[in-house]
């Protein structure tokens, strides 16, 4: 059996469970790009919902 190793990303969340890497990535974008990312999220969810019309 291979030795168990901690994930190299184990310390990426703070005490509240907030993913700090995600915040740093978002902050690296300019505001319009942040809005584009949110739009992409909304579009993806809509596409998934269209693909599966169950409630």
């Amino acid at each position: 059996m291979l030795p168990r190793l901690d994930s190299p990303g184990a310390d990426t969340t703070d005490d509240d469970g907030v993913d700090v890497t995600l915040i740093r990535w978002t902050l690296s974008l300019d505001p319009e790009a942040r809005l584009d990312a949110l739009q992409g999220f909304a579009d993806s969810i809509a596409a998934l919902t269209d693909a599966d019309p169950s409630p």
Binding site: D16, V18, V20, I23, T26, P31, L35, A37, L38, A46
Partner: protein, 165 residues
């Protein structure tokens, strides 16, 4: 219930084209400030003077805004009610748009705009509530959904501060 995929930038462009005075609050404000929050509606607090209500009405007509009515009735915005302090939850051709007279501790546009940042989105200058004020309004609202967003907002503010130093 009506559904419509949100188109945040397009909604802001329509509001900007009609020169509506407003400030973005809520989840979209969080995202624009760098906090990774998922949201589907655009929340704005508008100036409630007569001239701005007329500009807002024109934008809402262009957006084909009607209230998100669970009974499925087609209820259109009215200038008189938009002049009040209440919350108007619309569905539009650009998705859900919440037009709010006041938020937090009874804070209206004039109270919030001092804590606004001006950003250029889609070629239009828009005001966005900054993170400290956004945190304050969420704390004041005190609802579970507002409290749930606070850890991300506070951490984003801390990270933002680190970048400035």
């Amino acid at each position: 219930m009506q559904t419509q995929v949100p188109r945040f930038k397009d909604a802001l462009i329509v509001l900007g084209r009609h020169e509506v005075e407003f400030i973005i609050v809520g989840g979209v404000a969080a995202v624009l400030n760098g906090a990774p929050i998922a949201t589907f509606d655009l929340d704005i607090v508008h100036a409630r003077d007569d001239e701005n209500i007329q500009r807002l009405m024109a934008a809402l007509v262009e957006l084909d805004a009607r209230y998100r009515d669970p009974a499925g009735r087609v209820l259109r915005p009215e200038p008189l009610s938009l002049g009040g302090t209440g919350h108007h939850l619309f569905i539009t051709t650009c998705g859900p748009l919440d037009v709010l007279g006041m938020v937090g501790q009874n804070e209206g546009y004039d109270d919030l705009v001092v804590n606004g940042r001006v950003l250029t989105i889609g070629g239009h200058a828009v005001r966005v509530l900054d993170l400290p004020a956004l945190i304050r309004t969420k704390e004041a609202a005190g609802r579970d959904k507002d409290k749930a967003a606070l850890p991300v907002l506070r951490r984003a503010l801390a990270e933002q501060a680190k970048l400035k130093t």
